[in-house]
């Protein structure tokens, strides 16, 4: 970890020292500002390009298996059905329904992602058939005992972060960009995310999550990318390790189907109340 940290800070430090020596305080300020802007622009441009390449999927459905491993090696499984409809004006709409364990089968979430304001989020409890609109301020909370927080699993709209290109690195043998994402929402659990994205397909290979105290909290690695519809890359395996509590969560995505004809009405509250029907 320390190596990566140094890599990120070195160019800036070198620049600062040189600038201060040569041009004095005033110019230094301008200089850092210009450099920062250039890196911000590049970081944003790469992220926008990644988003652009992933747009136009219209909708997808998939099954997700979540395996939670605690420090003693004990495991528990969750299975979820996911339906996502791509957003045009606003963010994506996603319905997540639990199918396993059986005691929470049929429980679900509906999220209408917003680009700049808080997401709309509803929770459905099948035992009393209640739909409850919940505050999306709980985004920091772990998703059902996993090492993923709600915000990790929600649609990663470009507008939700400020970007800063750091440097290039080789990850998994792939030439990659290293980009720092700073959440725009002060309620986020993270002070920053460091994202490794391969240059050819702009696939996220790895993310380091830093907590509010700037300490490394979690690392996500994504692998087994598969190409769907000749256009959309999706990682089949995601692995999140929490460095602070040493717990791990593995996600396996299966049975991806694109362009399944989901309608807007399939991603509204009434649809949340019929999770096990409606196809």
């Amino acid at each position: 970890m320390s190596r990566l940290t140094n890599n990120r800070q070195n160019p800036l430090h070198t620049f600062l020292n040189r600038s201060a020596a040569m041009l004095g305080i005033l110019l230094l300020c301008c200089g850092t500002a210009i450099t920062a802007n250039a890196d911000t622009d590049k970081g944003l441009a790469i992220s926008q390009e990644a988003d652009k390449r992933n747009s136009g999927f219209v909708d997808f459905r998939a099954e997700l298996t979540m395996r939670i491993v605690n420090t003693q090696g004990g495991e528990s499984l969750r299975k979820l059905d996911i339906k996502t409809l791509e957003g045009v004006e606003e963010g994506d709409k996603t319905i997540t329904i639990f199918t396993f364990p059986k005691d929470i089968r049929g429980s679900g979430f509906l999220t209408h992602t917003k680009k700049t304001t808080n997401d709309d989020q509803w929770l459905y409890l099948p035992s009393i058939k209640r739909v409850k609109k919940i505050s999306s301020k709980n985004k920091r909370s772990p998703f059902f005992g996993s090492e993923f927080a709600f915000e990790d699993l929600s649609s990663q709209e470009v507008e939700k972060y400020t970007y800063h290109y750091l440097n290039d690195e080789v990850v998994d043998g792939l030439d990659s960009y290293v980009i720092q994402r700073t959440p725009n929402d002060p309620e986020s659990a993270y002070s920053k995310l460091i994202v490794w994205m391969d240059k050819e397909h702009l696939q996220i290979r790895k993310i380091d999550y830093y907590d509010r105290k700037e300490a490394l909290l979690k690392t996500l690695t994504a692998s087994d990318y598969t190409l769907y519809e000749d256009k959309f890359w999706r990682a089949s395996n995601l692995h999140m390790v929490n460095h602070q509590n040493k717990k791990q969560t593995f996600l396996v995505w299966e049975n991806y189907r694109f362009n399944t004809g989901l309608k807007d009405s399939d991603l509204e509250q009434p649809a949340l109340m019929r999770p096990l029907t409606g196809g």
């Binding site: 364990p101 709980n138 005992g145 649809a271």
Partner: protein, 430 residues
């Protein structure tokens, strides 16, 4: 079994085999959801009739969904969800229950949907109680808080639109009366409840009720307006003389009035705060009243750097009938509750709620916990304590419990005073 000797059975098997093949191509079934559970209630007190020990019951729950017309854009769904409860002791047989939270046909097309059959729906926003939740009958045998509901026959159509909101229209053809505990059971009333219900409507339990609701979202504000016209789900318990039991002629008879019930509910999300309100206005032959619940919910996420979430609830319940409100109604009470969600693999959670009358010396405490032992086994815990003022006593002359006559002295919850209980439940999911 040999087929040659039993041609009738062979033909039957062939026919049913062909039928199921045909059905399989037209009908798509979900997998069966089956759970089997047992619950035990422990009552430390003697109860009204001093004959009540611990209570065991077994629960079976089955659920499946089928779809037909799968080739069309709008398949037809058949939903089945059955709940069966069997009490272990015959003294507890009023807790036996067959219910269908869902037994219906349904179809969805774009913003529209319709349902025909038995179904359950939820209206409301509050945590303590839901005044506006009028359609389904309350299942007091499941829990004293009245949040458990029974399936209701209905023809329902709904329309959901981003701009115009959600509209619900329901015709409710058959009424299900409330189940009361008999005098040998716990959480019983101080007098026997007559098995024969009385209705204001000449149609009895077949009066055609009507209900509708409109709800809309305005950003973080959600509002709902509802209207119900028909048989009151909550009976008035009337003191009548039943000559078939000369030794104890005084009994209570549930009387179901015809009511008009208008409801309003709203929830406003302000960051971590949820502001909630429910209000109803009800008219019947005996007059009119209004009642409300207003409150807040606040969630501390990840308290003390753990993964635990802690939610606080504060609600005020008001009923303008005050002293005239029936026993059991929280007419001027506060509820303070906290829910701790552990966000662990076992989905553990713990809720503690304290109800306190603003004037009378009445306190009710409810604890609810759940814990998943394994992928198939869940554990539930419920604890109720009632500290509701002067203890129960019967008037030695009239044999009429004083509480019925004098709720002003004894308060509205006095009947529950000796009914503290602890319930443990274990459920196995196949």
């Amino acid at each position: 079994m040999t087929f040659t000797k039993r041609p009738f059975i062979r033909c039957g098997l062939l026919a049913s085999g062909a039928l199921s093949l045909l059905m399989a191509s037209l009908v798509q079934a979900d997998e069966w959801q089956i759970s089997l559970g047992t619950e035990v209630r422990y009552f430390p007190g003697d109860g009204l009739y001093e004959n009540a020990g611990d209570r065991w019951a077994f629960n079976l729950e089955v659920e499946n969904h089928w779809s037909v017309l799968n080739d069309s854009d709008y398949p037809l769904y058949i939903n089945l969800h059955g709940q069966f409860r069997q009490a272990a002791a015959t003294a507890d047989d009023d807790r036996n229950r067959v219910d269908f939270p869902a037994l219906n046909l349904a179809q969805f097309r774009d913003g529209w949907e319709w349902t025909l059959g038995m179904d359950k729906l939820f209206w409301g926003v509050a945590e303590s109680q839901n005044l506006v939740n009028i359609v389904n009958q309350t299942d007091l045998q499941a829990s004293p808080d009245g949040k458990d509901r029974l399936g209701q026959w209905m023809a329902r159509t709904s329309w959901h639109h981003d701009t115009f909101g959600s509209w619900d229209f329901l015709l409710l053809p058959h009424f299900r009366a409330r189940d009361f505990s008999n005098s040998r059971s716990r959480l019983a009333l101080p007098l026997p409840v007559l098995g024969r219900d009385a209705y204001e409507s000449g149609d009895g339990d077949n009066h055609l009720d009507f209900a509708s609701r409109w709800s809309h979202q305005w950003g973080d504000l959600t509002t709902g307006l509802s209207y119900f016209n028909g048989t009151s789900r909550a009976p008035d318990l009337q003191l009548v003389i039943d000559n078939t039991h000369p030794s104890q002629p005084l009994v209570l008879q549930p009387f179901y009035a015809q009511i008009e019930h208008t409801g309003f509910d709203a929830q406003w999300i302000l960051g971590e705060w949820l502001l909630k309100a429910e209000a109803i206005y009800q008219t019947s032959h005996s007059g009119h009243y209004w009642a409300s619940i207003s409150g807040v919910e606040y969630t501390f996420g990840q308290i003390m750097d753990t993964s635990y979430d802690l939610s606080w609830y504060l609600e005020y319940l008001y009923d303008d009938r005050q002293a005239q409100a029936p026993a059991g109604v929280l007419e001027n009470d506060w509820m303070l509750a906290a829910r701790l969600s552990f966000n662990d693999e076992a989905s553990s959670s713990l809720l503690v709620a304290v109800f306190r009358d603003a004037e009378a010396d009445e306190t009710i405490v409810k604890c609810e916990g759940s814990y998943r032992l394994s992928d198939h086994l869940s554990l539930g815990l419920e604890l109720w304590t009632f500290a509701t003022g002067p203890s129960y006593s019967r008037d030695p002359v009239t044999r009429i419990p004083a509480q019925i006559v004098d709720t002003a002295t004894y308060g509205k919850q006095a009947l529950l005073n000796d009914e503290d209980f602890l319930q443990l439940s274990v459920t196995y999911y196949f």
